[in-house]
């Protein structure tokens, strides 16, 4: 991955996030609030991204390891925790990073806490809690690992 290409991908991804409305915590929470005044816009983001993604990832499939279908407690438990944090603030990792440019103290603090959470997970994993516990070995190269 060349730095210039990575910069291009970051710009494209960031532009998509900004245009789609994903960078607005209020809009994200409006989407998640299905029993209030529901804003379904972000379902269209998923539809657009996965619609084109199905085609492009099919083209790219020889370049990637086959997708994993392994379901384990770490996957489910981690996703539950992530969802609570996402709902609480309205930031998932991508939009949190795009918000750094605003230099808003809350955006900066959120990203600092997110980094601390990342480090904490690595530390807990390094303690090698027995299976079913909080730990996933730090070097676990799950085929679908984010950014693997």
């Amino acid at each position: 991955m060349r730095p210039l290409f990575a910069l291009f991908i970051g710009l494209l991804f960031g532009a998509g996030l900004a245009l789609s409305g994903m960078t607005s915590p209020a809009k994200v929470q409006g989407f998640l609030d299905i029993s209030g005044a529901w804003d379904p816009s972000l379902a269209f983001v998923m539809a657009g991204a996965i619609g084109i993604g199905l085609v492009l990832f099919r083209v790219a499939r020889r370049r990637l390891p086959p997708p994993s279908h392994r379901i384990d407690p770490a996957l489910v438990g981690g996703s539950v925790l992530f969802g609570v944090g996402w709902g609480l603030v309205g930031y998932c990792p991508g939009p949190a990073l795009t918000a750094l440019g605003s230099l808003d103290p809350k955006a900066l603090t959120f990203v600092a806490a997110m980094l601390a959470g990342t480090v904490l997970q690595r530390f807990v994993a390094s303690l090698r809690v027995p299976a079913g516990g909080l730990g996933r070995p730090a070097g676990d190269a799950t085929a679908n690992a984010c950014g693997a």
Partner: protein, 141 residues
């Protein structure tokens, strides 16, 4: 169910989603990589050789809305919640996404595009838990 028509932006959201899908698909096709933000961030804590590329991708993410913001008004990126929620939310997102090996981009966009059962379970779980959290915050608390 009441639709919030005032804030509903189907076309911009669909277009933005397509751009997100193209960026993830291009990275996969050219570099054989999954565009997962939590994974890219966590890479900084690993002894790998792609520090520059990771930093460049994140720089692009930060620059994009600033560039677009010069020609087009974007909604506020500031969360309207208290400091405790900001800190707790950040910790949960960082810890949870790494434990689950992925977030909205890695599991939600890339994994679902690859028809991964693992990513479908992750996406269903974090969506359900986020919806439940907002429900508790707005309608029970």
């Amino acid at each position: 169910m009441v639709i919030d028509w005032q804030n509903f932006t189907p076309l911009a959201s669909l277009a933005g989603g397509v751009v997100i899908g193209i960026s993830a698909g291009l990275l996969a096709a050219r570099s054989g990589r999954i565009l997962g933000v939590s994974g890219f961030v966590s890479g900084f804590f690993e002894a790998d050789k792609e520090w520059t590329a990771r930093l460049a991708l994140i720089a692009g993410l930060i620059l994009a809305p600033l560039l677009i913001g010069t020609v087009h008004t974007l909604p506020s990126v500031v969360p309207d919640v208290g400091w405790t929620a900001v800190i707790a939310g950040g910790l949960l997102v960082g810890f949870g996404t790494r434990l689950a090996s992925g977030c909205t981009s890695g599991h939600g966009v890339c994994g679902l595009s690859r028809l991964s059962l693992r990513s479908a379970v992750a996406t269903g779980t974090f969506m359900a838990s986020a919806i439940a959290t907002v429900f508790v915050l707005r309608h029970l608390a």
